[in-house]
């Protein structure tokens, strides 16, 4: 059995986009949410989140902003941009196609 952090290339991007599509979030919260939503099956290596976040920001899919969070701490919040939303839909559709193809093969075998 492979380690839970081994994500298919590119899926981490999709997960991040999905998670912050709901509301702007900071890095730690994104990591928490991904593991909660996947019922702790997907344990994103917490550090590996950051290169992905910065890459998405450079691509213009998400925007970053320092904001106050609860109990007066500042955190860097990431928000989905309009292009990001469009990209997310495409990536999701792509994922659907890929996963259904794989499950088709797996279930037949």
């Amino acid at each position: 059995m492979s380690k839970p952090t081994d994500l298919v290339q590119g899926t981490l991007d999709l997960l991040i986009l999905k998670v912050i599509a709901l509301e702007p979030m900071h890095g730690w919260a994104i990591a928490q949410r991904i593991s909660q939503m996947s019922n702790e099956v997907l344990q994103v290596g917490q550090g590996s989140l950051y290169p992905a976040l910065h890459k998405l920001e450079q691509q213009g899919w998400i925007e970053a902003e320092w904001r106050d969070s609860q109990n007066n701490r500042r955190a860097k919040y990431y928000t989905l941009t309009r292009e990001g939303r469009r990209a997310m839909k495409q990536e999701a559709a792509q994922w659907e196609r890929l996963s259904s193809a794989i499950s088709l093969i797996v279930s037949q075998a």
Partner: protein, 908 residues
Amino acid sequence: MRIGRIVRLRLRSLFNGKQVNQDLDAELRDHLERQIELLRTKGLSPGDARSVALREFGNVGLIQEQVRDARRVRWVEDLWRDATHGVRTLARSKGFTATALISLALGIGANAGIFTLLDQVLIRPLAVREPDRLVQLAWRGNAVGANYGGGSLLSYPICRELEEQTDVFDGVLCRHPTDVNFSTGRENEPVRAEIVSGSYFAVLGVRPDMGRLIAASDDRQPGAHPVVVLSHDFWTTRLGGAADIIGRRVLINSHPMTVIGVAPASFRGVDLAGLPAVWIPAMMKRQATPEWDGLFSRRTFWMHAIGRLRPGVTTDQARARLQPWFKQMMQADLRGEEFPPVTPDQRRSFLASTIDVTSASRGVSGLQTSFERPLRVLMGGAVLLLILTSLNLAGLMLARGIGRTRELATRMALGASRGRVARQLLVESILIAIGGGVIGVAAAPLVSHMLRSFLPAGANVSAEIDGRVLAFTVATTLVAGVVCGVAPIFQLRRLHINAAMTERSAATGRTRVRARKLLICGQIAFALILLVAAGLFVQTLVRLKAKGPGFATDNLMMFSLDPAAIGYGDLQAELAMREVLRRLQQRPEIARAAVANSQILNGGRAGGSLTIGAGERRVTDRFVYRMRVGPGFFETLGLKVISGRDFDDHDVRPLGTPPGPYRTAIVNETFARRYFSDRSPVGAHIGAGNRPDTPTNIEIIGVVREVSRVNLRDQDVDQIFYNFWDNQSENGTFFVRMRDTPESAARAIRAVVAEVDPRLPVRELTTVDDQIERSLSTERALATLSTGFGIVAVIISVVGLYGIMSFVVTQRRQEVGLRIALGATRGNAIWLVVREALIMLGTGVGVALPAIWALRQIVEAQLFGVGAFHGPTIVTATAALALVGVVAAMLPAWRASLVDPNLMLRAE
């Protein structure tokens, strides 16, 4: 929007790296703190929580690095690191860097310097509104008219009719450059003027800097519009930029005129030959050019016509649309009373004429025609030089690469990718190219100022380096840098780390030496081409000077007078001319003096066809150069009248009688030989012109040797000299053979003219020697610069040859030692090396010869007395290059032969 944001982010990553890093630190710290808190709530101790959080997070340093990578600016940071590293490495190998920089700077400097002038003369469009829509209109064919001026000319009435072709043009202007005497009331000053149609400024789209410009309303009635516009330059430099200039009265050739405006500083006219000081309406032509009129003559061709095409009309369309009107106009002209009688042949060739439409986006200028070829030749030479320096640099890089094999292998062994090392090498090449470019641009003014000094002094061309030249230089620099950088990168592909690390790498060494040898062959080829070109141009200059103008030029001066320009009437002017001549002849400083209608060797030409009346009527089939000279002209120049006699005082028309037709003429030997073969032309009769009814009543009274009139290249031209005093003699040029220095003669001349009238300006006072020097400026420019290029090329390629031979000798020391030990003589050993050099030289020459053959047509027109594929020049240049090359190869060979074979063999 999106692009803007991304660019902003990247720029922030790049230039605000510190802040970005702090930002990242803060973000990661925030994450860890939150995780620690979470773990604490689950009951872990502070220390445990911390270590677990860190473990879950992973390698913080690595993550930071990955984030930086993700921000995609790493290559720029690397580039910066490469650059600083490159500067440090280059600074360590000073000899290499200095050689590379100097050789590249020479190549780039020469290119930038020549491009500065080439750009202005041949490329840059006029500084007017939409210059692309401007076209020049010209008569193609036999116009049956008299030309006043150079280039493609039309008459004023034809220009005005062109203006009416509104389906083709938005407007048409016409202009004629001339010199006028300008005065604000005190001294007269000859200045450059432009006689222009009322449409001139409107068609060009020029707006006034002050006042107003000449408009259509200033071009209606002859003599009724005494107004002038000043150029910004003239207004600021000569009139002190006086604010109250508008409305002021000035004198143009002693005619009062009113200043109505000042043109903007950005407007430099339409002719590179010179920026006018004043613009004068065409209707004031009689005042501006008192010597001749013909404003309304359809057959007096004197103006350049420039049209502004309607938007969307191409030059081809314009040409096609204008022909019907043009045909009609010619038919009407033919029937008009002004049209002279013509032979059927002339009539046919007249009716076969067309109107030509060519782009005038760069204006109209004889400068372009006369300097286009020389400038292109020089630019070509400079480009060859740049290629040569780039090859040389590539060779140097290769040589350096061989020395650095271990360094590069070590870096690759330590994990640097080939691409990464290649980039480092490329960065070094580009650094050198940039350095060379900077020094080259700094050196470029030396070349451009030198070249500028060969152009006419008044020409509207600047030697200053501007933005366009800088852009050109940046482009050449980058090309040179990449060309030089590619060589060592190719060499890198062959680098075997293991072999390189274990020192001996014979295989890669040999291929690299072969590459370097090829580069040397290329350099030798280019050097030979440049050397041959230099030889040809120098010989052209020498031969022209040796040929001379056909008479002794020492102690000979000339100057011109034009009394009409300060308001003299014809009779008064003629009297002044005679008086000046009489007084000159009496001055002790002056041995002889004579008068003629024009200066000589100033590029000007006048003439036409003649009808020879002897026996059967014949029309000359070549252009016969015409000049009008007074008695004593040939004697003053030191020319013998070969047969017959010179004009004498009996031929001088008595003062006060009206000028009549020519009665007597003297022809040159060439003319006599061509049309009278071995008979003497003396006593024969000719007529000026080629009409069927041209009377042949001018008697040839003498024959003289040929004299260069236009420039020293004149050879085998037919010349005819009429008597100056037969015709209009109100202005002219005096030729003076002085006894003493030019200074004392000049003083005497000015004194004589001042005695006659202190207001009379002495124009164009010069020694004939100086005039000849000026007339040779193009030839001198070519000879000087090509010699410079040739010398630099030879030095660079010979130094390159020396470098590679030294290297080869070092590599083959053992072989040489072995051979000597086995009984070979020193001579044998030296021959071994010299032979290699000779092979390279031979290959270079073998490549160069066909290239010289192919390039011969480009230089042909610039040469004199020597062919473009001139055997002796090529042989001499090759021999010189080979000699220097062999000496360069001998030095290391000789050193190698001194090696003690015992020592050498034991070293193995």
